[in-house]
Amino acid sequence: MTVTRPKDIQFGRIFQTVAAHAALLIYTGIALFPIVLVLINSVKSRTAIFKTPYALPSPINFDPVGYQTVFERASFPGYFLNSAIVTFGSLIFIFFAGTMAAYALSEYRFRGNTLMGLYLSLGIMIPIRLGTVSILRLMKALGLVDTLFGLILVYTAMGLPLAIFVLSQFMRQVPKDLKDAARVDGASEYRIYSLVLPLVRPALGTVMVFNMIPIWNDLWFPLILAPSERNKTVTLGAQSFLGQYVSDWNAVLASLTLSAIPVVILYIVFSRQLIRGLTAGAVK
């Protein structure tokens, strides 16, 4: 049964829709305009950057000189590799250590279970940066200063609390019958753990993406723990390059674009997991 709405209500609806789209379009513009402006100007000549900043790149104003400078003066491929090693390495550690601990907390009732859960989740709210003075000392003592491995260890410690908290919530929902059936068949506890993993895959995806972006983007720990040219991550490499070439607009725009591209690609690939994580449980 359809009810015809009175004209003014229909008009109100249309007006609301138009106003909402207008507001969303304006805000999308605000969010994207600065990024797009940098992208399009990174391939333009210096004159074009200043004379026609809003013009799209075209054969008339095209000039890749910025990218040439970046590739001659800085080793961005090296920075990318370092960032990839650090991010990927940390994610692997977080994956194994995190799922194992979450499995133990959710599966076994042992004495001190709750206390252990609480201890491991303390780090969700307290920023690891506040321990930097001692982290640097510890890394010196362990001979891990200016190594990528040192960064990986710090990021693993940083990512574990939230990963364990979220994963153990999800693992509790895995039906008990399933695990008990496997036990009856004589499966070891380690085998059952490996059976549970695929069942929490969506949560795992979210946890990994959630950790990936802050690790890739971090400036603080690369600056303090691994600042040498050999070990620079993209974020630190871009930071020091930009500081040095601040007046070379072509190079600045090109290096900004280069360092933004991997994150934007990762975001496009993983945006579903990321958004699902942020809106966890609520979106049905």
């Binding site: 250590a97 194992m100 780090g123 920023p127 690891i128 001692s134 510890l138 574990l160 930071q239 990321l274």
Partner: protein, 305 residues
Amino acid sequence: MKRKSFPWHIVVFLAPAVIVYSLFMVFPLIDSLRLSLYTTLPNGTEIYNGLGNYQTLFNDPLLAPRLWGAIKNNIIFFVIHMVVQNSIGLFLASLLSSTFIKGRAIYRTLIFTPTVLSVVLVGFIWRLILSPLWGISGDFLALFGVKNQPWLGLVDTALPVLSLVSVWQYVGIPMMLFLATLIAIPDEIVEAARVDGAGAWIVFWRVKFPLILPTVGIVAVLTFVGNFNAFDLIYTTQTALAGPEFSTDLLGTLFYRTFFGFQLQPGSPTMGATVAGVMFLIILAGVLVYLFGWQRRLLKMEIEL
């Protein structure tokens, strides 16, 4: 019957996480608090100094103004985020939760883009946009009849403008969190209010807003912790000196300068740890207010209802 053997598998499962977390997070945090109670002698040895470092930090004619200045700036930074970022986030979320709007997923994804960029990129992008040399900000401000200025170079404007840059970057997070809560509100509740004659405005404030209050608390505490720990944006745009004249100095930049030294002042690990100790206490206070003040009050409200 065979006696149950010690559950070694539990130890194996927990060990990697507990070891890495304890060694690289819990131990450094505690050790850093311990170091804040020590002072470094000129010959390099460290001796116990009680709360002496904290006294110096709060009273020394050179250090105290920096500390209070950083705390004041940090509060301004936080207030701007709370007011601007979180209300824009809520506004966008309420638009994105209306089912009659098409393309919501696309808007959501695009608006979230700046949040995934590193603060270094965001800082430099806005330095370019705001640069009087390029004049982009000038072109836009002219539309509103506002005269362009070197916003990042003036004592009065640098901090508010940088706060807004940070708002621009992070508005996606409150937006997503509010959106999740709004979507979860059952349609029946909203319909019931509509049938009773409530307009969209009343429905939002009287029906939806009370239901998103728990999310307001989460957003507030996340903003608080993030803001009182911020460093990258100021370091990228204004260097560790947080110019002009320390007007953009936050606790994070003060921590960095105290630890590593700057210009003529040598760095000191113990004083650095003391600044970190102050930050730790502030963040802890914020988290406790949230856990015991806000959540308990919400619980009471629910019981009364």
